[in-house]
């Protein structure tokens, strides 16, 4: 065993407090880092991996067969820049049965509306290798394979062998279920079947030599459509759009987790630097002894690095394990949505490897500066200086405080930080970051809550229409009678009947869902980002994510198609929340698409705003009794999983970082008390009480806490301005200023006190310990 190792090991074992503080600080920071990196990786890697395995279509284009021939398409696809091509495949849009419930609680039922059906003889091929996860591929007319996320069926009746009745099409037998990340079709039939389905488009799937950016995909589209007759291209879909859709929720977590990860990392570096520099300063005599014994400067540096690295590595390893454990449920929550059945999000090994290598590297870097001080320190000075601070430092400030009318313990405490300005600066920075974290977290939670509430605060009860096909009781009353019954119930203020209908948007290969509202639809108005709520026929409102995805804006026109009928509509407003494939419109727009919507039960839910003071549970019970077949549930007031996850993980990370900041203060007070044992003994010998000693030590940190609050709150506000819009932008939405201005004077005052709270929390224990120091003990140590 080398002398360096022996001395380091002894220091690690004997200096338990220092060892414990370093290990704990590194552990908590590592947990935050693993979670942040894990989410960052999960947000993109699983999609890319699966997409590459399937040789997914980077561009799905549909062409009008009346305007362009297959030969022309093949010729265009042979141009440079096209790496692979599949198709043309005949494509038809059929309308699925509408007699099934949609969005009933706990049920995944097939949405009624259009299904894009493509004729393909083979699931494999150079592009878009469809994953057939159950049954077999279509072999002859009369068979169909449905696109479903792996392992998922829509309702209990959906199985291989079941029959599908689509209006205007022959009866089809389901022979298999398949998935594709390319989202190229909702179902596949054999090419021989297509003529009977009356195809309206030719689908071609492309992969390009360069496709990493939207510009490259656009350039690819320009390449394959150059020279084709005008109007030949009906629509196109970039894989980047699909990827954005599928990873949006996960992406929402990344900005704030990264912010917390970076904050955690910086706090960890600062505290490690503070701990190590404190160890060096308080270890002057130790360093002097080592050097007088013949330790070379490099050996002294090695001793101090090992002293810090040993608990640091333990903290990093444990932190990685705990981070893995913490990240898994979070990943599960983030990726548990509909689209994520395509892939399983797991923590990549590189996250653990990077953390396990990176954290010790950070510790070494943080330790190097103070350790190099030990390297340079002359042995004679180290031994003679002992642990006393240099004379004269901060004396002027301390003298000034001494002249004030403050109690002596307080004035002495206020002067203490000036005796070790470097250490005080590091502690102050830690406190600033602690307050920044608390400020960011509280603002983030308020904004997220406001964002989630934006679509929920106007309705207290939502009743779903029962569906006999999934074992529920269907209502006996007709749609209009149900609405009338609802309006007659005591406590009802407003009623809106909601009809979700899948629509085809002309010019796009994707399906959009229309929410058609009847009744008091003005009351449904959610928080608007731009424009106004839809009130008349031909008007729709969409979410900001919709306009971003489809390149539209308020005032633009689009054409909706259902069962062969078309209706032009105008976007009159943009809402804060909502889906990127969803439009909201008044009932009149549905009647334009379906002349008599009353013949089919389109309405599958009734939204009710209750009169003030009405008990929601009692109301729902009365409603269930009054209208059998209606399943009322309380709406709003609770929190959805996104809110719970974001607010929950924010709280956990904030507590972690605040605890780490308090540990930094704890360490500083321990070092100060250790260095000032002689002063403390002297003060006690002339009559300072233990309580006054505690007050003095706590005051020294509380003063830094006040400064930490004054600096940390504005930085936290700025971080909130950066992080929250980035999160909302990640899901394709935007926030109105009202949701960003979540701060009020009392809340800000409390946040200013957060620094003092962290400082006092960290200082109290070692301050009390210093107060208990006996004079005899101090003299003995001298």
């Amino acid at each position: 065993m080398s002398a360096v190792w022996q001395v380091s090991r002894a220091a690690v074992r004997r200096r338990r407090l220092q060892t414990f503080v370093i290990a704990l600080v590194v552990l908590t920071s590592t947990v935050a880092l693993v979670v942040a990196l894990g989410l960052l990786d999960a947000a993109s890697a699983p999609f890319d991996r699966t997409f590459d395995q399937q040789r997914g279509a980077q561009l799905t284009a549909t062409f009008d067969p009346a305007k362009v021939t297959d030969a022309q398409l093949a010729q265009a696809a042979a141009r440079p820049g096209v790496a692979a091509v599949a198709g043309p495949f005949a494509q038809a849009v059929l309308t699925a049965p509408s007699n099934t419930a949609v969005q009933a609680p706990g049920v995944d039922a097939p949405p009624p509306g259009p299904i894009t059906v493509v004729g393909r003889a083979d699931p494999a091929g150079p592009v878009d290798r469809v994953d057939l996860w159950e049954g077999r591929w279509v072999e002859r007319p009369g068979e169909i394979v449905l696109m479903r996320p792996p392992g998922e069926h829509y309702g209990p009746n959906e199985a291989v062998g079941s029959r599908l009745l689509l209006p205007g099409a022959p009866s089809l037998t389901v022979v298999g279920f398949a998935s594709t990340l390319s989202q190229s079709a909702g179902a596949w039939v054999s090419p021989d079947q297509m003529p009977a389905l009356h195809p309206t488009a030719s689908q071609v799937l492309y992969r390009f030599t360069g496709s990493g950016t939207a510009d490259q995909v656009r350039a690819g589209l320009a390449t394959v459509t150059a020279g084709l007759p005008q109007g030949a291209l009906l629509g196109s879909l970039s894989y980047l759009t699909v990827k954005q859709d599928m990873t949006a929720t996960a992406n929402a977590y990344v900005p704030f987790l990264l912010a917390f990860g970076v904050l955690g990392l910086v706090v960890a570096v600062l505290i490690v630097a503070n701990v190590v520099s404190g160890a060096v300063v308080s270890g002057y005599r130790h360093i002097g002894v080592l050097k007088s014994l013949g330790f070379t400067p490099n050996q002294v540096v090695a001793v101090y690095l090992v002293m810090v690295l040993a608990p640091g590595v333990v903290g990093a390893v444990l932190g990685t394990v705990l981070g893995d454990l913490a990240a898994q449920p979070l990943l599960h929550t983030v990726f548990s949505g509909f689209d994520y059945g395509y892939f399983t999000a797991t923590l990549s090994p590189w996250v653990d490897v990077l953390t396990l290598l990176g954290m010790p590297a950070v510790i070494v870097l943080a330790a190097l500066v103070p350790a190099l001080r030990a390297h340079r320190l002359s042995a004679a000075r180290a031994i003679s200086a002992g642990s006393a601070p240099r004379a004269g430092r901060g004396l002027r400030v301390q003298r000034w405080f001494g002249g004030t009318r403050l109690p002596r313990a307080v004035s002495l405490g206020l002067g203490l930080p000036f005796a070790r300005p470097g250490r005080s600066a590091l502690t102050l920075t830690t406190l600033v970051l602690g307050v920044t974290t608390v400020t960011l977290a509280s603002g983030l939670s308020s904004s997220v809550a406001a964002y989630i509430e934006a679509g929920n605060d106007h309705v207290q009860s939502v009743s779903y229409v029962g569906d006999a096909e999934i074992g529920e009781r269907a209502p006996t009353l007709a749609d209009a009678a149900i609405e009338a019954k609802l309006r007659s119930l005591p406590g009802t203020a407003q009623v809106t009947a909601m009809a979700p209908v899948e629509l085809h948007m002309v010019g796009s290969s994707q399906i959009v869902r229309g929410w058609f509202m009847r009744g008091d639809s003005a009351g449904m108005s959610t928080a608007m980002l731009k424009g106004r709520w839809a009130s008349g026929p031909g008007e729709v409102v969409v979410a900001s994510s919709f306009t971003a995805k489809h390149g539209l804006t308020v005032g633009d026109h689009l054409t909706l198609q259902l069962a062969g009928r078309e209706q032009g509509v105008t976007i009159v407003g943009e809402t804060v929340t909502g889906d990127a494939d969803q439009v909201e419109a008044p009932w009149e727009t549905l009647t334009a698409l379906v002349p008599d919507p009353g013949t089919t039960r389109y309405v599958n839910q009734y939204w009710v705003r209750l009169a003030p003071g009405t008990n929601v549970d009692a109301y729902d019970a009365a409603l269930a009794a009054a209208v059998p077949g209606l399943y009322p549930t309380a709406h709003g007031g609770g929190t959805d999983s996104l809110t719970v996850t974001i607010v929950g993980s924010t709280t956990v990370l904030t507590l972690l970082l605040a605890a780490v900041a308090a540990l930094g203060v704890f360490n500083t007070v321990v070092l100060n008390a250790r260095e000032r044992r002689r002063d403390l003994g002297m003060l006690k010998s002339i009559g300072m009480t233990p309580r006054q000693v505690t007050l003095m030590m706590v005051t020294s940190m509380a003063a830094l806490g006040v400064l930490g609050g004054l600096l940390g709150v504005p930085i936290g506000l700025a971080a909130h301005r950066l992080v929250v819009p980035a999160m909302v932008a990640a899901v394709g939405n935007a926030l109105p200023p009202s949701m960003m201005n979540v701060w009020h004077a009392p809340a800000l005052a409390l946040l200013l006190l957060a620094g003092v709270a962290i400082a006092v929390l960290g200082a109290l224990l070692p301050a009390r310990s210093a107060a208990r120091l006996t004079i005899a003990e101090v003299l003995r140590s001298e």
Partner: protein
Amino acid sequence: MTTGDSSNAGGTEAGQVVVHLDGVRKEYGESTALDGVSLDIRAGEAVAVMGPSGCGKSTLLNMVAGLDRPTSGRVVVNGEDLASMSETGLALFRRRRIGMIFQFFNLLDDLPALDNVALAAQLTGVSVAQARRRALELLDELGIADRRNVYPAALSGGERQRVSVARALMNRPALLLADEPTGALDSHAGEQVMDLLIDLNQIGQTLLIVTHDQRLATRCASRLVEVADGRVVRQRSLERTA
């Protein structure tokens, strides 16, 4: 008292100059700690340096130990010019040639007595087992072998100083430096340390002792060097008293 082969310690012959200071000057900012000190110490000598507080005694000791560098002048110890050495070279020099005893012992609080002593040998590449064997021999000779597993904080002042002496002797140094070795001890423990130093010198160990204690000087030293204001003001031979 054998304490190993302290005679001919560090490979020096009796009468050979072990320490040669030539016009050594040391300044700290505007104050001068040493002002042109010249001094020779021969192998086997026991030299005591005395003088009032702040006269430069400890600075002189630090120069000889290679713990500090002179502003000007030469410091040659055992034939090696310390001014030409790097920090690493000085460290290697100290571990091979110098043993130091301090007023406040300067033991490593994290190591028990035995490991404090053994550490000095381990630095020179001696195995742990071998170093501990020799450390135990030394502690035994100094009468504190039974305290080998005790940490410094639990040792008495006299015991700590004996551990410190054992550590200083581990590598059979050419020169044993003692800075107020009895300054923190009671009279009984002080007497024991004095006896120890006399025994060491009698078997050939070269000693340089810095002290305020006239009794320590006259009991242990064969020559007295008096320093005032950073200068050697007088040197005289001493007859050891009992």
